[in-house]
Structures are given as C-alpha cells and as structure tokens.
Subunit: 170 residues, 3 copies
C-alpha cells in the first residue's frame, strides 16, 4: 500500500454539506471558518480511506477500530469539550456562543485518557454493567426529551429549548 490517498474537492464539499446539515438539525454547529472546517473534513475522508472509519483528524489512530471507537468523529469527548471550551478538540464543532463571537476558542486540553486508563475505564463500565446509572439523566421541560450525559446539551435536539430549560430527572 502506497499510503497515497486521493480526495477530490467535490467529496470534501459533499461531506461538509452533509455534516453541516446533520449538525444543525440536532442543535450542533460546524466551525464557521469554512476553509478550516473543510480541511478537517478532508482529514476525515483521508482516515476513512486509511482505516475504514472517520477517525479524528487531530489524533493518532491505532488503525484497530475497537481501540479507536472513542475517537471516531463525532468523538466521545465532543459534547463535553463543546460545553467546557466552546469547541471540540479539533475545532470542527463549535458552540453557539463561539459562533456568536461571545466566546473565543483557546487551547483545548486532551480529554481522552491515556491508553492504560482507557482500558481500565472500559473494563469498569463493563463490570458495572447495568447495575447502576453512571450519568445523570436530563429532561427538557418543554418537550420531555431525555438524555444521559454530564451536563444538558446546548439546545434540546427535539424542540430547541436552551440548556437552562433542562432539569435533572434521574
């Protein structure tokens, strides 16, 4: 294998448009620096050809899907980083505050645990299994949407109510 990967501008534009549409439909936003966002989308397509999946363009993939699952875009860490820093680790996804210019993206520390801890975290979650609720469940007071995550989403993906309209349910 030569490692040579050809990505056409058309395929980048197509995926960029699809991701943008899907993001907006769910209350997420791509970075409005379109050229920058497209360079990351190109990275996704390069990784798709290399590994067979959209491994994060800003992280080193192992090439074994099982080990890379947490960094397949959108990664497991996106929403927490959007919440804390206004952008995901790469800057492909940004928060409404960043879009509105009310917040600036700074440097985002790597939230992904190092390999050893990753293994332990996975084992812990498997052994805990379904015996307990590991994360709070949030409820949108407007439409009743439920989700389990550290903090509520920026907006309800169903009815667009904002974060402050969520209450803890479980």
């Amino acid at each position: 294998m030569s490692g040579e990967v050809l990505i056409t501008p058309e395929s980048v534009d197509n995926l960029y448009n699809r991701l943008k549409k899907e993001a907006e439909a769910a209350g997420y936003h791509l970075n409005n620096d379109v050229e920058f966002a497209k360079s990351l989308v190109k990275g996704l397509l390069v990784n798709e050809q290399r590994y067979g999946y959209w491994s994060c363009p800003c992280r080193l993939a192992s090439g074994k899907k099982e080990e890379d699952l947490d960094i397949i875009c959108p990664c497991d860490y996106r929403d927490a980083d959007l919440n804390d820093y206004g952008a995901c680790y790469c800057g492909l996804y940004v928060s409404q505050e960043v879009l509105d210019g009310k917040k600036t993206i700074g440097s985002i520390p790597e939230r992904r645990p190092p390999p050893g801890e990753r293994e332990r975290a996975k084992l812990a979650s498997v052994s805990t299994g379904i015996s307990g609720i590991s994360l709070p469940v949030w409820r949108c007071v407007v439409c009743g949407y439920l989700c389990a995550r550290e903090e509520p989403p920026e907006v309800c993906p169903i009815c667009r109510a904002k974060k402050d309209r969520f209450q803890r349910f479980l």
Copy 2:
C-alpha cells in the same frame, strides 16, 4: 431607554421560516394563519430586544430571566396546551387536528401558575430532586424513543409514529 424597538419584516420572515422548519422537523406545527403567526414571531423579536430572550408574546414578562424561564418560547406549557386545546396559549403552535380542520381553537385558559404557586412548585421540584420520577416515561413502540411528560407527544419526533403508538415505560 426609549422603548422604541425596530423589527424589520425580513427579520420576522427569517425567524418565522426557521421556527417553521424546526417545528416540522420535530413533529410540531406553526399556525397556518401565516400573518397571525408572523405577528407573534414579531412579538418574540420585540421581546428579544427588550429582555434578551424570546419571552412569550402573550404574557407579561418580569424582565428577570430566572423568573421568566417557563414562558420563554416554546414555553413549558406548550405541549400540554397542544394536547388539551390543539394550540399553545398564544396560538403560535397548533396541533395536526387543528391544521386539518378537525378541531377548532377555542379560548385557552392560562395554565401558568400564579407567582406564589410558581415559587412553591419550583421549590418542591428542587427538594424532590432526583429521588423520584415525577412524570411518566413514554416509549415509542416503533423506534424506542423515550420522553418524560404528562402524555405522549402528538407524533414521535424521531420516527413520526402517532401518539397511540406510545406505551408507558416507567
């Protein structure tokens, strides 16, 4: 502050189109009396300039966001009013039955508790905290979507199955 607020017809049209699109995507519907709906959308934009948020155009806001959270559009009472009366308090959102002419909108009583009770309701919900499930959880039998609300939604926001395809889950 002069109280003078300028809202352009373009900004009304833009927000109307956005709300209509977002409503339909989630199984909700704006009133099909477009001029009436736009007058309410204009009210939202007026309130955004006055208070900084989309306070309900048919209710008197306090101007303190914390006290007005429940009447930021879509308000906490919309879905119950859609269910019982076929429209939200303002008439901005209507049910499918109303759209289809099978139901007529009558007068909709104010469901929002008076200020004293509002405080008590909030305290009760805080003190109860996460110790108990205060609302039934409904499950769409087609796609498994879960939501916590008095009654199931008119249609499943995920798969469009109708209300009678929901079963109580918790």
Copy 3:
C-alpha cells in the same frame, strides 16, 4: 361503497418525498428501488382511503384500528427486521448495509404474532404495566440519547453516531 380507490401519481410522489425526507432525518432509509418504494407508498394511500390509516401494504388489515395498530406503517416490527434482515417486512425501509450493496435482502419471515398470541402479549404488557423495564435502555456515548429497544438503532437519530457507539444504560 364501491371499493374503488383513486390515487393520483402526484399524491404518491408527495408522500414518497415526505417519507424519504423524514426517514433520512431520523437515520432510516427508503428502498432505493424508487419504483418499488412508490408502489408500497401507493399501497399506504389505498389503505388510508380504505381504513383511515396507513396499514401495512403487505399485510391483511382487520379494518379495526385498535387491532391494526401494530401494523400501521412504520410498523412495530420495522426496526427489528431492519436489524436482522436489512429491510422491513415489505422492503419499504432498508438498512445502510443494504443501500451500500453489502447485504442483500432475502425473504423476511413474518414477525407479527398470530392473532391469539397478539391478544395475550397485549394483556401481558398491560398487566405488567410500569412495574418493570421490559426492554434494555441504550445510551449513545456521543450525545447521551436514550432509547428502549431490543438492540441499538443503526445510527443515533440525534448525532449520527453508529450502532457500536451505543452502550447499555439500564
């Protein structure tokens, strides 16, 4: 009543386009054999005129809505059939794998219980009521979406993460 039902090509196209859009928005897909899909959509419209609801075009409806609820399209069995066979019983909905040509649709056994068992299943579910969780609850690790179903969906309807990004939550 003559049983004569007139369905215009325009009404078929309209419903086909609507179903296709709604399907894609939630991570489902109509069969890409468009003429075949439209023949099924026509069947839905015929049944709507006959019975008043979109009874499955490949099954015999009783004409009593209460007894036919589970086979109103999308039927209660669609997602399990998509998961196991890559298509719903009719073939109106197909999985991504089928779309991508990685899987071929074979014959799909009827998953709907026979009338007697159907009654018993319904009674059991009513008597169990809310006393226990009958189905696993899955959580999307990316966005926290929760759903209760035998297996996770093909993709998260909110954030498009794939099935292998779901973990059992309850």
